[in-house]
Subunit: 339 residues, 3 copies
């Protein structure tokens, strides 16, 4: 693709050779002659002098330190967004072949939409509904009465237990388990535990993405619900009857215990833990490794081993750091008074 | 099923229409006309006035605020236990078809019990023993010399490494890995690590349940043992040579390091971490996200980033919260003394 | 194997019957008549009097308390290393059959080395390169353009996304996901998130071992790199564009966020969390459950909920433990001054 064509895609103005061939995108430190890169963060300006990229996207008013022969400049309104656009354009994307593998098994009364791809050794149960343009990669197990909307991608080795519902445009990464039993037992008199049947299901709404090896438990009764646009990183556990509001994003290895309700547009850090049966309101940010043991009713940032508003947490940490000084002050006071 | 028949199952006394048809169970907020629900926790009484359930189970002496036409009452000794009984009765349960899939592979010298179900693309090695009524779901890999007792359910995409032993009535959820190598290396002089062969196995006793994506490592020598009735939630790691005592329950994302021994009837919270080579006695409760770095020899509740008895931990937290006051007190003292 | 032959392997001197038959190794508490064990740690000497082992390896100058009839002694320079040698010798090892399963699927233009074993229901994409002596266990999914070096072992149910590169002598345990998408989104004006294509890959160098159910994310651009000799325990998440230096070992359930660079020979404890975009220098030891939120530029041991040098952390913990005394001292001062 000629640089001229690329400039048109991102509405940019070229300084330099507009005829060079660009075949992909790269980081400024690593990009090669036939790649285009971008410069937005001042910390990366030091790489400009040595970049091998054929072209660099910069903002309209960026003062490129020294123009270099062989490096064309493309000026745009927002270099990062323009770059993302190209990243997407050059993405070779998902490359499962169209078509249904000879060796997959599709149960009775299961309907497939148009243009569906199903990989090797995929097992789909009975009475399932699979939408249009769905791509299911190899070795997935989808049990009876599961529904999957249009345009979904299910990566290899995913397990979806019976009766779960997946919306449109959902991506589920490898090893994720959707609809496993919630952790529910009744204690018997002899100290053993009797399993409480987990009769509900999991509902994943449109545009959600579920990371690799995540576990989302089915409800005891009713449903565990992952709302529209929720993004889960890898290795997250969502317990039974949890509700995660629209456009909430959760980083890797976080865990949400049973029946907790998380609001919309929350951001939950990696390894954070949220106990069961509480509510987190909309627009809450929870730091990495934070433990939340009570409901949160005010938007804001919460940090600490026991979650508290970030300012309180910082003050508390400073006070602990100052304990040595406090001890010294008391010693001085004692030496004055208790002699 | 008529309400009359249901009342017999749970030994209840009906007030209202005993002839209505009940087809399932539901939560009091969500139950529909042909469902039965229960009322036990006073916090849920507010839902009684609007429930659409056809029948509500209450305790013998419960004062139902206002009887409603169309809602039959069933009085029992323990509403929650009665409800669990019905939950179980109406559970459609595991719905893998009986029978052995045409496409699964079963190794030489492997014996199968009566009434075994094996799903699509299951690979079972040589010299295995599979008990009666076992259901192995699709895409599981069971390696050589594994034994599985009667009435076990192995969900999709489970891996069981060679030589592991699983008792009767065990449930293993999707993505769990049983018998992976323990994390053992000998440091070489050049700074690299040489793998120590992990020659032991994993033994899972009767009635245990292993959550989705759990990892239980095989012993270096000897065995890693999960005793009778142990219940593991999702994404737990149990390292090599660990021993977990009878009827201990562990919540999601906890980790137990190598050679540690956990007693009977312990409860371990989500994301808790227990170091290697220690012992936790019987009847210990460890909170969520607690770190245990020393043996625990007395039953009780332990909490904190470094585990301590819960009362000590609470006192310590209160003292930290009071640090501001302490600082102020010292300031006052200083102003009196050090002027 | 006669004890005499074993003594030759480990260059040991026998005291006792050199003609006994040894068929395996065992722990001193558990070993049986035809097994050999070792004694190195003084804490285990108490087991010597009752061991049923046929032979015990001890150091050249070890004073065996009381020689016992039927227990031969083998004296060597380093009992532990000698024992590891035997552990390895008696290890029955990986027992997947040589050969390519009839039912696996290997894509077009994919090349296989010599002596490759591929298990049941393995799906390998197009344009892959698989080296010599590689063993891929059942139900693995390897997508297009993946390369795997010589002598690798890929356990069941592993997923390797397109374009990833695996070196020689690498072991990948069950359920691991290599090359899943990094967690990258651009926030839209309406509060939803747009996926940023993850166009890079994962490179795993020679002699690395990847634990069960680990997730290693592909880079947004460029690569996520696991260097030579790195050992990852179970359930670790490595985010996009992370770099882990040579011979670094990481314990179970730790997480490394995006673009972070870890040095060589580091040891990272279980459940530790390291934020994104920082650097950890060589030879750093990070304790279990430690949170690292800033770069570390000096080798040493770091502990605490917020990582700090271990001595500072211990002092800080002691000060918190002493808070009660501090409060009492202030009370005394107040009673003297503020009456």
């Amino acid at each position: 693709m000629k640089l001229l064509e690329i400039a048109e895609v991102i509405n940019g103005k070229i300084e330099g050779d507009d005829n060079i061939e660009i075949t992909g995108v790269g980081k400024i430190q690593e990009a090669e002659k036939n790649q285009i890169t971008f410069l937005s963060n001042p910390l990366y300006e030091k790489y400009f002098d040595n970049t091998k990229a054929g072209a660099v996207i910069v903002s309209e008013n960026h003062k490129v330190i020294q123009k270099r022969p062989g490096v064309s400049i493309v000026r745009v309104a927002d270099p990062y967004l323009s770059f993302l656009k190209l990243l997407e354009m050059f993405d070779t994307g998902n490359d499962v072949e169209n078509g249904i593998a000879d060796n997959c098994v599709i149960g009775e009364e299961t309907s497939l939409g148009k243009n569906v791809s199903i990989g090797n050794f995929v097992s789909i149960g009975k009475n399932c509904v699979i939408g249009d343009n769905v791509r299911i990669h190899s070795n997935c197990s989808i049990e009876n009465k599961v529904s999957i909307g249009d345009n979904c991608i299910i990566h290899p080795n995913v397990s979806i237990y019976k009766g779960c519902e997946v919306g449109n445009n959902v991506i589920i990464h490898s090893g994720a388990v959707i609809g496993t039993d919630g952790f529910g037992y009744a204690k018997e008199e002899n100290g053993s535990y009797k399993k409480i049947p987990q009769t509900g299901n999991v509902v994943i709404e449109d545009n959600a993405e579920i990371g690799a090896n995540c576990c989302i438990d089915r409800a005891t009764m009713g449903e565990t619900r992952i709302c529209k646009g929720v993004k889960l990183d890898d290795q997250i556990t969502i317990a039974h009857n949890v509700y995660i509001g629209e456009n909430t994003v959760i980083a890797a290895q976080a865990g949400i215990a049973g029946s907790t309700k998380i609001g919309k547009r929350c951001m939950i850090g990696g390894q954070a833990g949220i106990v069961g049966h509480i509510e987190i309101c909309d627009d809450v940010i929870i730091g990495a490794s934070v433990g939340v043991s009570k409901s949160i009713t005010k938007p804001g940032i919460y940090t600490g081993y026991r979650a508290m508003p970030v300012k309180d947490n910082l003050r508390s940490e400073v006070r602990i750091q100052n304990l040595q000084k406090l001890e010294e002050k008391i010693k001085i006071l004692e030496s004055k008074i208790l002699k």
